[in-house]
């Protein structure tokens, strides 16, 4: 058996139940990591090195209790803030409930998770916080007023955390993901997304390996001097 590139590392992935989070959790497991998944519902991953925590990233108190339990059992090296919700609607049609849910899940959630994770990472003076952003933050498509704002806010939050956490050896970066086949994409009008993708410098949908490539780069030992950066896929630029 060969050791994977993440052997000995503990990675926490929020929203590991499906989509990009599920793909990333499996990727880290394939590469030898211990993976801690977090989502509101159970996850189907059946792997000796996978441990699921039922937790709502919007609930700061619940997260604090969950991370206290994690801290007693293991270190934490890499955090992937992936949990997100999307409701793409014209401003006149977007409900207040949906708007608030996006702010709480896409912006406050990663903040709460990051600070709890950083407390554990601080112990080893090593950490990588990688936030899953979106092309919406840069492209500002109609229908995504609140979603795009939460993802733009995520970039700003990441960059501020990069300053606050660098004394503890923790880097914070964002991967700006383009459209990828997922449940989230299926909620959107495909012709509109096709038109956005057609306008990109590399006009195709993202694949999981495109995301793994950037996440692996930002997670590596050699990326200790890379923080407060947003790397967009497909040629999107902010």
């Amino acid at each position: 058996m060969t050791l994977g590139s993440y052997s000995g590392k503990v990675v926490l992935v929020t929203g590991s139940r499906k989509g990009i989070g599920l793909a990333l959790a499996k990727h880290f497991l394939d590469e030898g990591a211990t993976v801690l998944g977090v989502s509101r519902q159970p996850c189907d991953i059946d792997h000796a090195n996978y441990h699921h925590h039922l937790c709502d990233v919007r609930d700061a108190k619940q997260l604090h209790a969950t991370f206290q339990q994690i801290a007693k059992k293991s270190a934490l090296h890499i955090l992937i803030n992936n949990s997100a919700v999307l409701d793409s609607q014209h401003a006149f049609m977007l409900t207040a409930t949906s708007a608030e849910a996006m702010v709480r899940t896409n912006l406050l959630g990663p903040f709460f998770v990051s600070r709890e994770a950083a407390k554990i990472m601080k112990r080893t003076r090593w950490g990588r916080i990688i936030n899953i952003g979106s092309m919406a933050a840069a492209l500002e498509p109609a229908g995504d007023s609140v979603y795009a704002a939460t993802k733009a806010g995520l970039v700003t939050m990441t960059n501020v955390l990069a300053r606050e956490l660098s004394p503890f050896g923790i880097t914070c970066n964002t991967v700006g993901v383009t459209a990828i086949e997922s449940d989230m994409l299926n909620q959107l009008p495909r012709p509109a997304i096709d038109a956005i993708i057609a306008g990109l410098p590399i006009p195709r949908y993202a694949e999981h390996d495109d995301i793994f490539n950037v996440v692996d780069f930002l997670s590596s030992e050699r990326s200790a001097y890379i923080t407060a950066q947003t790397i967009y896929l497909g040629g999107v630029h902010g």
Binding site: H64, A65, Q68, A71, K72, K119, K122, R123
Partner: protein, 101 residues
């Protein structure tokens, strides 16, 4: 689990000792009760205070199984922040620890 005043005192002293290891010689602080940690006359900067509080939270959890968030709404809502001095911090930890029993 309960925690006694002398145990809290030791815990804070250890956390300050850890902090001092990271600080330049001229910036190191005493762990005496009157040492000002926050506000006018603070002997450590805000980053050091954050680091100290997080270390104490971790030690409370690891050594005494007390899962207390010291820097929460309850702390910041007080007219005088409980991190103002070493003594105030010690009293606050004891108070929160007793509440969580």
């Amino acid at each position: 689990m309960t925690i006694r005043p002398e145990q809290v005192e030791t815990l804070i002293r250890d956390a300050i000792a850890n902090l001092n290891e990271e600080l330049p010689e001229g910036d190191r602080v005493d762990a005496k009760p009157s040492t000002v940690l926050f506000g006018i006359g603070a002997e450590i900067d805000s980053l050091s205070l954050v680091s100290l509080v997080v270390d104490i939270e971790s030690a409370l959890s690891d050594q005494y199984d007390l899962d207390i968030a010291l820097a929460d709404e309850e702390a910041t809502a007080r007219p005088v922040l409980p991190f103002s001095t070493v003594q105030a911090l010690e009293e606050y930890i004891l108070e929160r620890a007793n509440e969580s029993k």
